[in-house]
């Protein structure tokens, strides 16, 4: 921001609420792009698919870029939230609901009825929307497109185009810019391009987005996946080892140093979409205490579900005898129970003071999992666990959590529940990271002494529904499992109260009754009792 530069030649005030003529044109371009995709969806057969696909995607990207430049570049740098609660799209108005319903419908079709998108099954050629993407897929990996390729392409384009918009919106804020470049990079490279190139190099390898970590990537340890990796020699072995290291070694180290944000708002694809395309909806998350209570139950239940499900899956395809492979059912189940017990004991011994009554729930949760696993072990036969078919557990997880929760609700409901409903209420990876962030991480949002004026901008803009103000107005640092470290609360604070920091563990959680600035003796008297 500079007082010397003034790009606007406008005679009227530059801080526009309504969109300008140029923005209308940009919007038109983007909509034409979407229209081409819609025509393809309704089975219009374009003569030159490659050309029309380029047109469609190009128009969407160019439209978004022009729109954003017009929206932000002729204003002074600063917080650009004027009218977000007035606009229909970002305040659950007509356009908000419309977009929500269209997105939800798209997800339902994508997950459950891909044939309507034109997916050709059993060697039949693609039609409709999916066939429009065949040329791009051929170009990248020499095969025809699938519904996932279409989805991946649109997803990546959304992150790139809206990422650009986000960077312009926060062009005074380098934290936001670098973070956004990071999610754009990881989406384009790790989620989109690298898996396609890996396919070219070795088409037996399963699709593997290296940054998608178990338990978010719930199918990586499925039998077909593990077998496919293992049948591909050292590369496959290295990849599956990387998958194991990601969650058990890399994740704890990075989370200790930087908090959960290294993943959720710098690397993750779900987070990437929420931060870019979902940015206009971030303020819609519920800040009620009741929502927080629901969140804590729900996300940890999903984690329990996912741990039990994965353990059960792996268990079923392991053998009994150590002759074939050292990792037998007995060894495996002992390892899992041992690991969970160590975590539980560690937390209870070193961190029980920080947990309060939540510890009881945590303890119950851990014992529940361990008991379930033991029951599983003793009731397990070749194809049955807990006396039910093992595959049922896995497919239930895939449908209810993997598809409906994370996709249909998580993204389809952006304009209704805010951009991080999945990350907040459902993501088991977020639960793991959050558990560590709350108990064993250097990360916190520091509150600046007594400067808070309780205005509520921070809480309003928190996509995870954290009532940031609740802490800030008490002069207390924010140390919350759910915080993804996006840094928007700190950006919108008008008084410079919040700062994301990695500092020492000591004094990280510092509840205050009397804030800095008042009588030192009074502060001593009240705060130290």
């Amino acid at each position: 921001m500079s007082n010397k530069l003034n790009h606007s030649m406008s005679l009227a005030t530059p801080d526009a609420l309504n969109i300008t003529t140029k923005q209308k044109i940009a919007l038109g371009l983007g909509l034409i792009g979407l229209f081409i995709l819609t025509l393809a969806l309704f089975n219009t057969s374009f003569p030159n698919k490659g050309l029309f696909l380029t047109f469609a995607l190009g128009l969407i990207v160019i439209g978004t870029i022009f729109y954003s430049r017009e929206a932000y570049l002729n204003k002074l740098e600063g917080i650009k939230n004027d009218g977000v609660w007035f606009k229909s799209i970002s305040s659950r108005g007509f356009w908000g609901w419309s977009v929500g319903i269209i997105l939800t419908a798209f997800y339902i079709v994508l997950y459950f009825y891909p044939q309507y998108l034109g997916l050709g099954k059993d060697g039949v050629a693609n039609t409709g929307l999916i066939s429009l993407f065949d040329p791009l897929s051929q170009l990248l990996s020499g095969r025809n497109a699938s519904q996932w390729f279409v989805y991946g392409t649109l997803y990546t384009i959304a992150i790139l185009a809206f990422g650009y918009k986000f960077i312009l919106k926060y062009r005074h804020n380098r934290y936001q810019q670098i973070r956004t470049v990071s999610v754009m990079f990881f989406q384009l490279g790790f989620a989109f391009l690298i898996p396609e190139f890996m396919y070219i190099m070795n088409n037996d390898l399963p699709y593997y987005d290296l940054k998608s970590i178990w338990p978010l990537n719930y199918y990586i340890f499925d039998e077909w996946s593990v077998k496919a990796f293992l049948s591909n020699g050292n590369t496959g072995l290295a990849l599956i080892l990387f998958g194991v290291l990601s969650i058990f070694v890399i994740t704890p180290i990075l989370t200790y140093k930087y908090g959960k944000r290294w993943y959720c708002s710098w690397v993750c694809g779900c987070g990437g979409l929420a931060e870019t395309a979902g940015d206009s909806f971030r303020h819609l998350s519920s800040k009620k205490l009741s929502a927080w209570k629901l969140e804590r139950w729900l996300i940890h239940l999903v984690l329990v579900f996912s741990v039990v499900m994965t353990t059960a899956m792996i268990y079923t395809y392991l053998g009994y005898k150590s002759n074939d492979f050292w990792l037998t059912r007995g060894v495996f189940i002992s390892l899992v129970i041992g690991f969970l017990t160590i975590i539980f004991a560690g937390v209870m011994i070193f961190k029980r003071n920080e947990l309060g009554k939540d510890a009881k729930y945590g303890a119950i949760g851990f014992f529940l999992v361990i008991t379930l696993l033991l029951i599983m072990h003793f009731t397990g036969t070749t194809d049955q666990l807990f006396y039910i078919k093992s595959g049922n557990l896995r497919s239930a997880y895939g449908i209810y959590i993997g598809s409906i929760f994370s996709g249909v609700i998580g993204t389809g409901f952006y304009p209704i529940l805010g951009s991080r409903a999945w990350c907040r209420f459902g993501c088991p990876m977020a639960a793991v990271l959050g558990f560590q962030q709350r108990l064993f991480s250097k990360f916190r949002i520091t509150t600046n002494g007594g400067q808070c004026i309780s205005c509520g901008n921070c809480s309003n803009s928190c996509e995870m529904g954290i009532d940031v103000r609740h802490y800030a107005q008490k002069g207390e640092n924010i140390v919350r499992s759910s915080c993804v470290g996006c840094g928007i609360c700190a950006a919108v604070c008008p008084r410079g109260v919040l700062k994301l920091e990695n500092d020492s563990m000591k004094g990280r959680i510092n509840p205050n009754e009397i804030l800095l600035g008042n009588d030192v003796d009074l502060r001593k008297l009240v705060n130290e009792n």
Binding site: M1, D82, V84, K87, K288, Q451
Partner: protein, 434 residues
């Protein structure tokens, strides 16, 4: 059970109530005529700008008050009978109290301008002012121009609000430069230019003569004192400061001056009657502070202190080092310790001023030119750590130390450009030439 009644549900009264609840089991009632629930007054602007909805300005959910057994009563107290300890409401009701706390805050100043009570003329302080503004300035069709009178913190906020709806603003400021009664010249100059860069028609050294009305008693224009120029407008914002909101006390036996007179224990002349926040006036100023401090933070601090006294641990209001903050459109401002503008600057106070070349960031460090003791800092566009400056002020550091350790106090987000080197260089250069 002792009944503590607090008139006013702003930050002072609510902080007091929360702390009494923490310390005791007393019956607590908060009275307000303005709003059902406590809200952050400083956030009203964001409601008009569409950043938030009104409910988001309320720091506590509605169940909070029941859960903490804090009774909320809506009504306007008309008369306080301190002899029989009874409050009389405008609608005829009464309420008994054992201890009474007056925390009624401020009201916008009006200096007797002709036309100051016309329709479309408003302050920007109460929730009702916001509703009024929404009525008279919903967009730039209904309100073709607004004139703001008074160049202080509320004035510039009102300008920002109107600007967000593309309503042209003429901003009349009596002083020769924005807020230069408080800000040193360099800083005030940055804000002047920043205001104009937002296409706000800033008129310095300009006074309001009168406000003219149309045939329906609604504002139609203002006349400038100095030039006689007439400026057509649909809204006039009066933001020439605030004063204690205590008219309803004038008939009681409670001693008032400009505000409710209190001693260091925040007690009035009547036993068991106290006053805190904007409406309280100290008999004698505390240090460099003004006898009336109409600031969010001081209201909160008084609430924190008085809770102790009311719950049996009688202690003085003894605030620590001065601090404050504000945001001027896109430029954040923080201050720690004392930095004076031209007006009222003590003879021994010298300044070191550094300004970034982009004209939106600067700091001013005040120090004692005889002893080199660090007195305070103003910072624009760079966030600083409250705790660090509070410590340095307590430790009575000298200016060299502060300048050379500025990096420790930086509170900007990660990856921001840092300016400590430039500042130190500029400091050394200035000392050499001085």
């Amino acid at each position: 059970m002792e009944h503590v009644v607090i008139i006013g549900n702003g930050i002072s009264g609510v902080t007091l109530a929360r702390h009494i609840r923490k310390l005791s089991d007393k019956k607590i009632t908060i009275i307000s005529a303005e709003a059902e629930y406590f809200f952050s007054r400083t956030a009203l602007m964001y409601v008009y700008m569409g950043h938030m909805k009104f409910e988001h300005t309320q720091p506590y959910e509605d169940w909070f008050w029941d859960k903490n057994r804090i009774d909320l009563k809506q009504g306007f107290v008309e008369f306080i009978d301190t002899n029989s300890k009874v409050l009389h409401f405008s609608h005829g009701e009464t309420l008994n109290y054992d201890k009474l706390v007056i925390a009624t805050g401020s009201k916008p100043n009006k200096f007797g301008w002709p036309g100051q009570d016309l329709e479309g003329v408003m302050g920007m302080y109460h929730k009702q002012d916001l509703e009024n503004l929404e009525k008279f300035a919903p967009n730039n069709k209904e309100c073709k121009r607004a004139v703001i009178v008074g160049g202080g913190l509320i004035g510039i906020e009102l300008a920002e609000m109107l600007n967000s709806r593309r309503i042209p603003v003429t901003f009349l400021v009596r002083e020769s430069s924005f807020w230069n009664g408080v800000l040193p010249e360099g800083e005030s100059g940055i804000i002047n230019r920043h205001i104009r860069n937002h296409h706000i028609d800033l008129r310095l050294s300009t006074n309001l003569k009168e406000i003219k009305s149309d045939e329906n008693g609604k504002v139609i224009s203002v006349i400038i004192e100095e030039t006689g120029e007439e400026i057509e407008c649909d809204v006039v914002g009066l933001t020439a400061g605030v004063s204690p909101n205590i008219d309803f006390i004038k008939d009681s036996e409670i001693e008032t001056g400009r505000g409710v007179k209190v001693n260091r224990y925040l007690e009035t002349n009547i036993p068991n009657v106290y006053a805190i926040g904007d409406c309280a006036e100290q008999h004698e100023a505390i240090g460099n502070r003004r006898p009336i401090e109409a600031v969010w933070y001081t209201g909160r601090m008084m609430g924190e202190v008085l809770a102790q006294t009311i719950c049996g641990n009688r202690i003085k209001y003894n605030p620590g080092h001065w601090f404050n903050s504000a945001k001027f459109l896109d430029i954040e401002y923080q201050t720690y310790g004392w930095v004076h503008g031209k007006k009222g600057r003590p003879e021994n106070e010298a300044h070191f001023h550094w300004k970034h070349e982009d004209d939106t960031k600067c700091i001013t460090v005040a120090y004692d030119k005889n002893t080199n003791k660090f007195l305070g800092i103003n910072t624009f566009g760079i966030r600083m750590r409250h705790e660090t400056f509070d410590t340095w002020l307590t430790e009575k550091r000298d200016v060299d130390y502060v300048i050379n350790h500025l990096a420790e106090a930086n509170f900007d987000p990660e990856f921001y450009s840092r300016f400590e080197k430039q500042i130190i260089q500029s400091y050394n250069n200035q000392l050499q030439t001085a």
